[in-house]
Amino acid sequence: MSEVLVEVKHLKQYFSVKTGLFRNTPLKAVDDVSFIINKGETLGLVGESGCGKTTVGRSMLNLYTPTGGEVFFKGEKVDSNSIKHLCREMQMVFQDPYSSLNPRMTVADIIGEPLDIHHMCATKDERKKRITEIMELVGLNSEHARRYAHEFSGGQRQRIGIARAIALNPSFIVCDESVSALDVSIQAQIINMFKDLQAKLGLSYLFIAHDIHVVNYMSNRVAVMYLGKIIEMGDTEDISDRPTHPYTISLLSAIPVADPKESKKRRRIVLEGDVPSPLKVPSGCSFRTRCQFATKKCAEELPLLENRGNNHFVACWNK
């Protein structure tokens, strides 16, 4: 059942940044990224801050106009015209439960807005019914529909954001760090809900996060990003059991594990130095400045993603 739902081809997103009185430098937030998401699956996108993962999500929904490359939904190209009807199929859940909801709108207004914009409900009653239905799907008490967003806790606000995203019955949702701002105990609730909704509504996700354990839990496949490029991609088990790219390996080893005995056993690879600025991306492989295996070739040529077997792609000169 591998029907391709979303295809991203050589996506580039550059932002122009002022670096001098008359000089502008392109900030290569996303630099040639390609991947496929099949129907019903979750692709995880993981990386640290500044790697471009949030930008990928937003460019896919045409919230930024891509500088280069193309995005296809069920074969149809996504651009500023097609997004007008494609937005009913492709939606987003944002990171910050506080700034992603308009403080002057009630819950009913927030969830009802997409219904109003696309004229989905003919009568007021129908609208009310649909809003109640959606609220119950996300575990909110429909009696609270007349309340304002600021009266709810972070987890509940995130539920409201999710309700808003599913109101249009989309088939694809970008979850942009949707659980990162929540307390651990609430994270688990929301993660469970994402999974339930996926089963119930047949959704496909692009799950963006910086916590690789959460990403691995949610996703069928994972892509790891560094400075605007995907440096490793494959099935979740492959990535977590057989990480190949030096960055992925150090990322996995750097994350503290909630198990004291494991913690002491682990050999942690601590990377030297800081992430280079996206305005001055190193030549060749952008990771070479922090990589313990860097060679001359790494500085000269950019490694491309190669299939190392079983659809496990790695962009590295070292075998």
Binding site: L61, Q95, D96, N102, E113, Y148, G161
Partner: protein, 358 residues
């Protein structure tokens, strides 16, 4: 096995010491009791509540309401008109000049003795035998009206200009804001004076016989200049607000849902600006009133005989030594109005400004 020697001696079993019924599972209702959502308040209601606790703001509101009430009721109660020169039995009463508050002229006293009822001169009279109280009342009317209308002009122009500049950003914003910078540099007083002179020469005849004649060309020039110059700070404020609101993710979310720019401005941006705009307007009114008073003081305000607080104060300068009260009353009124609006504006800001919320 747990070691509980520290807490309870082994000898006496737990079961005897504690009431076992307390250890039965809690019901869901008991748990719900604790989790009650707080009473629903909107941002607006919350702000009003805060405002009502601010004594200065509440006093200011009371004072302003009192003043507004007075200017509506007084002309009904007080039988004098602002331009009427006191006369007794149809003859102009020359002894009624510059009366002190609550005194009667010689002729009036004679009339009272013969049984006539004469309304007291609460603030006395001016040098042309006109009841001063009613003149102060009308002066207040003029000042408040000018303040209000000028502020509305500023609000409308500033709001539209600032919204466009803030929402569209980029080159549009750049150009519009440079225009604002230029306007800031223009000397407002000079322009009012020049415009007043020009309008007087050109328009005064056209206005004869219309309502505006009473107001005078000077007033019109004030309004025009307000419309041309004073909206800039409001525009900057609105633009700044919009720029910071645009950063919020709910704007992006609205775009992702397919909302058009018009809807986004109407439903998402403007409602979140309102509190700041109200505060700014509340603080703009006293500034406008003060400007009008100042202009009237220097003779560029409302056409005589229509009084304005400023022109009354100006006229009072002459007889200052002998009749100090003539300066006192209009000045006091200006102070009261300006102070009240300022305190109210401050109170509004403390109550409604999202940045100051704890």
């Amino acid at each position: 096995m747990m070691d509980n020697n520290e807490k309870f001696p082994r000898k006496r079993p737990f079961s005897l010491q504690m009431d076992l019924s307390k250890f039965s599972p809690a019901t869901d209702e008991e748990k719900e009791q604790i989790v009650q959502m707080r009473e629903s308040t909107t941002f607006f209601k919350d702000g009003i509540k805060k405002l009502s606790k601010d004594p200065f703001a509440m006093i200011s509101i009371a004072v302003l309401l009192f003043i507004v009430l007075t200017i509506f009721i007084a002309p009904i109660i007080v039988p004098y008109s602002y331009q009427e020169m006191i006369s007794v039995d149809g003859v102009r009463d020359r002894t009624a000049m510059n009366l002190a508050p609550f005194t009667y002229s010689v002729n009036e006293q004679a009339a009272i003795k013969s049984g006539e009822k004469i309304f007291p001169h609460i603030f006395g009279t001016d040098q042309l035998s006109r009841d001063y109280f009613i003149r102060v009342i009308y002066g207040t009317r003029v000042s408040l009206t000018v303040g209000l209308f000028a502020s509305i002009i500023v609000l409308i122009i500033g709001l539209i200009y600032g919204s466009i500049s803030g929402y569209f950003g980029g080159k549009v914003d750049l150009v519009l804001m440079r225009i604002v910078d230029i306007i800031y540099a223009l000397p407002d007083m000079l322009m009012i004076i020049l415009l007043a002179v020009v309008l007087d020469a050109t328009l005064s005849q056209a206005l004869d016989g219309t309502i505006l004649e009473r107001v005078g060309t000077n007033m019109i020039s004030i309004f025009i200049v307000f419309g041309l110059l004073y909206w800039v700070s409001m525009a900057r404020l609105v633009r700044g607000q919009i720029l910071s609101i645009k950063e919020n993710e709910y704007i992006l979310a609205a775009k992702a849902l397919g909302a058009k720019p018009g809807r986004i401005i109407r439903k998402h941006i403007l409602p979140n600006c309102i509190s700041v705009i109200i505060i700014s307007t509340a603080l703009q009114i006293p500034a406008a009133i003060f400007t009008e008073s100042f202009l009237s003081f220097v003779g560029l305000g409302v056409q005589a005989p229509m009084p304005s607080l400023g022109s009354l104060a100006s006229a009072a300068r002459e007889g200052l030594q002998s009749y100090p009260y003539k300066l006192l009353f209009p000045s006091l009124m200006i102070c009261l109005i300006v102070l009240s609006f300022n305190l109210l504006g401050d109170g509004l800001r403390d109550a409604f400004d999202p940045k100051l919320r704890r």
